[in-house]
Symmetry: C2
Subunit: 349 residues, 2 copies
C-alpha cells in the first residue's frame, strides 16, 4: 500500500512554493480523530509534499496540555490515534518523520532558553494569543503555559531548523514571533545558526460541516476519515444544499451549497464539476443525482483509508515502532540544534 492512490488528486498549488532544500514542520494537537476537513485543509498537502523535501509531522501533545491539563490521559491516547490517521492516509514513515513533542526533551530545553529572549508584553501582544485568550475566556487566568505557547512553537520550528511552516492566516503572527527569536539567537551567536522560516498559507477554503456550520467533531457534522460506506451515505444525504431548490427544474444556488464545497474539495474531475455548477444554477440538476456523485467521490477517497486503518489497528506494534523510530530521528535532529543554541548562549558544556 502506497500513497499512489492519491495520485488522482489535484496537484496542490503549494508544491511549487517549496523546494528540495526546504524543511517542513507541521503536525496536529492530538485532541481527537482527524476528519475530512483536516484532509482537505492539511493532510492532503502533506501527501503532496511528501518526498519533495524533508518533512516532519509533530504530534503536539504538550501544546494539547496547555488548554486541557485535566484531560491528560485523553491526550496520550489520541497520540496513537493521530499517528494511525497519518499512516492510514498514506504518510510514509520512510519519507516523513512522525514524532511526539513530549518525547523530545531538547524542545523543552529550547523553550526554557528562548523564554529569556521574549518579554511578557510581547507575548501578550501576540494577536494569536490575544484571540485565543478571548475565545477561551481566560482573561487574567491564562495558564502560563498558554502565554508561553508561541515560545514553545518557536522551539518546535527551530528545533527542526524548519524553513516552511504550513499555517492558516491566523497563525502568521506565530511565524513572526519565531523569526524574532531566530534573529536574536543569531545575534547572540554572532552567526546564522538558525534559518528564518516562512508561512505556507493554505489556499484551500475551510471545508464546512455537512450542515454548513463550522466542521467540528463535537457537533457531529464532520465526516471522519474512518466513516463506513453507510455513514458516508448518511452524511451526504443530510448535507445542506439550497433550501430554495425544491424541484429538479428549479435553478439552485452553488454558493453556500455544502455538496459543491465537497465536490470542489474532493472531485478529481474539475471540468465536470464546473459543468455541474452551471447546470445546477440554470436548473435541471437534482440534489439526489448530485449527492449520488459526491457519495461515490467520497467512497473512492475514504475506502482505502478505512481499509488501511483497519489493518493498522490490528498491528499496533508496527504503529508504535513507527512512532519510536520517528522519535529517535527527531531526537538526534533536535539535540544537535540544542547543542548549537547552548553554544550561542555560551552555556557550560
Amino acid at each position: 500500500m502506497s500513497a499512489n492512490i492519491f495520485a488522482q488528486l489535484p496537484a496542490d498549488q503549494r508544491r511549487s512554493e517549496v523546494d528540495a532544500t526546504d524543511v517542513i514542520l507541521t503536525g496536529d494537537r492530538p485532541t481527537g480523530s482527524l476528519h475530512l476537513g483536516h484532509y482537505a485543509g492539511s493532510l492532503r498537502s502533506r501527501l503532496a509534499l511528501q518526498g519533495r523535501c524533508e518533512q516532519t509531522l509533530l504530534i503536539a501533545d504538550l501544546q494539547a496540555l496547555t488548554d486541557s491539563s485535566g484531560r491528560a490521559g485523553h491526550v496520550a491516547q489520541q497520540v496513537t490515534e493521530v499517528a494511525l490517521d497519518y499512516l492510514a492516509i498514506g504518510i510514509d514513515p520512510a519519507q516523513t518523520t512522525i514524532a511526539v513533542q513530549s518525547q523530545l526533551g531538547a524542545l523543552a530545553e529550547l523553550t526554557v532558553l528562548y523564554l529569556n529572549l521574549v518579554t511578557v508584553a510581547r507575548l501578550e501582544r501576540n494577536p494569536t494569543v490575544k484571540a485565543e485568550v478571548e475565545l477561551r475566556g481566560f482573561e487574567r487566568d491564562i495558564p502560563a503555559g498558554f502565554l508561553c505557547y508561541p515560545v514553545s512553537q518557536a522551539a518546535d520550528i527551530t528545533g527542526f531548523r524548519a524553513t516552511v511552516v504550513p499555517v492558516g492566516d491566523d497563525q502568521v503572527p506565530m511565524i513572526e514571533q519565531t523569526n524574532e527569536i531566530v534573529r536574536r539567537v543569531n545575534r547572540l551567536a554572532n552567526a546564522s545558526i538558525l534559518p528564518e522560516c516562512r508561512a505556507l498559507l493554505s489556499t484551500t477554503p475551510r471545508l464546512p460541516g455537512v450542515d454548513g456550520r463550522k466542521a467540528s467533531k463535537s457537533l457531529g457534522n464532520a465526516i471522519p476519515l474512518t466513516a463506513t460506506s453507510d455513514e458516508i451515505r448518511a452524511f451526504v444525504r443530510a448535507m445542506y444544499t439550497d433550501p430554495g431548490h425544491v424541484r429538479v427544474s428549479d435553478p439552485g444556488r452553488v454558493h453556500g451549497n455544502v455538496v459543491f464545497a465537497y465536490l470542489d474539495a474532493f472531485d478529481p474531475d474539475f471540468t465536470t464539476v464546473v459543468e455541474l455548477k452551471e447546470q445546477y444554477r440554470a436548473g435541471g440538476l437534482g440534489d439526489i443525482a448530485l449527492k449520488q456523485r459526491l457519495g461515490e467521490v467520497l467512497e473512492t477517497l475514504i475506502a482505502p483509508i478505512r481499509t488501511r486503518r483497519a489493518e493498522l489497528e490490528r498491528d499496533r506494534e508496527y504503529v508504535m515502532d513507527v512512532i519510536r523510530a520517528g522519535n529517535e530521528r527527531a531526537k538526534s535532529i533536535t539535540e544537535a540544534v540544542l547543542r548549537d543554541i547552548r553554544g550561542a548562549f555560551a552555556l557550560f558544556a
Copy 2:
C-alpha cells in the same frame, strides 16, 4: 584536606531542624566569585549540614540567564569558579552533589509541564517576582523567563524531591509557589508522588561590607574567599568602626561596628567576643588591637581555603570530573522524577 578545619566553627543552630531523611537543595547563581558574606550566610551552613542528609548544590546558570542574557559567556566561566569555591571551602563531592542546572534537561521538561499548572496572574502576584521586577525596573518589559522563574525554581526543587530549601525571608513566597505546584501534581497523579518542601530560614544576620554598606563585589567592599594575607590586612584596616571612638580610652559603639559584625560571624571564641564588646563599650579597647584580633581570625579561616583553591586551580581536570560526576548523579535523580511526573500528566510513554 578535609572539612575538619571548620570544626572550630560554632555549630549551626539550623542543624537541629534537619533530619537524616531530609533532602536539601540549595545553590548559587554563577554571577561572580563567592565572598565572606556568602560564607557566613550560606556556605558555612552547607558544611554543617554535609553528611547529615542528602544535599545538592545546584549551580543555577539558567537562572543567571534570566536577568543577563547578554552576558552568557561570563556565566559559563563562573560555573567552574563557583564549583572551585565549593571545593575550596570543604564541600566534599562524596557527600554533597554539585550539579549544573543547564546540564539537567529533565528540569527544563518539568518547567514546561508545570507552566500548565500556574496562571500568569498568580506569577505576577508572587511577591518575590514583584519585588525583583521593581528592583530591576523591568515594568512591562519583563523577560518571560523572569516571570516564569518561580516555576523553574519549583522544577529544581521537585526535580530532586527536596524537602528542605535554605532561603532568605524574601524567598519564602517561592517555597509557597512550589508547594502549590506540588499539590496540583499530586492531585493530578491522585497520589503523593512529590513531597512538599519547607524553607530553612537563615538565622545569621547579613554580613555587611567592610565599609558598613551592603557587601557587593562591584562595590569592592566584600572580602573574597581567596584574599591574600595582605589583602585581608588591608580590608580589616579599612573597616568601619565607630567614628566617635577616637582615643583608646573613649567608650565605643558596638552596634553598626563592622569589626564586631565580623567577629560575631567568625570568631570561634564567643565568650571572649562578649568580653571584648563590654570592654569596647566601656572604653579602654583600641581599634588597632581589635582589628589585630579580627585579622588573625580571618587569616585562620581563609588561609586553608586559599591554599586549597590554589591547589584546585592547578588541577582543573579534577574540578571538571567532580562537576561531571555530580551532573550524572543529578541526571539520574531528576530523570526518575520526570518519569513520575510524565505519568501524572499521563503523557505518551
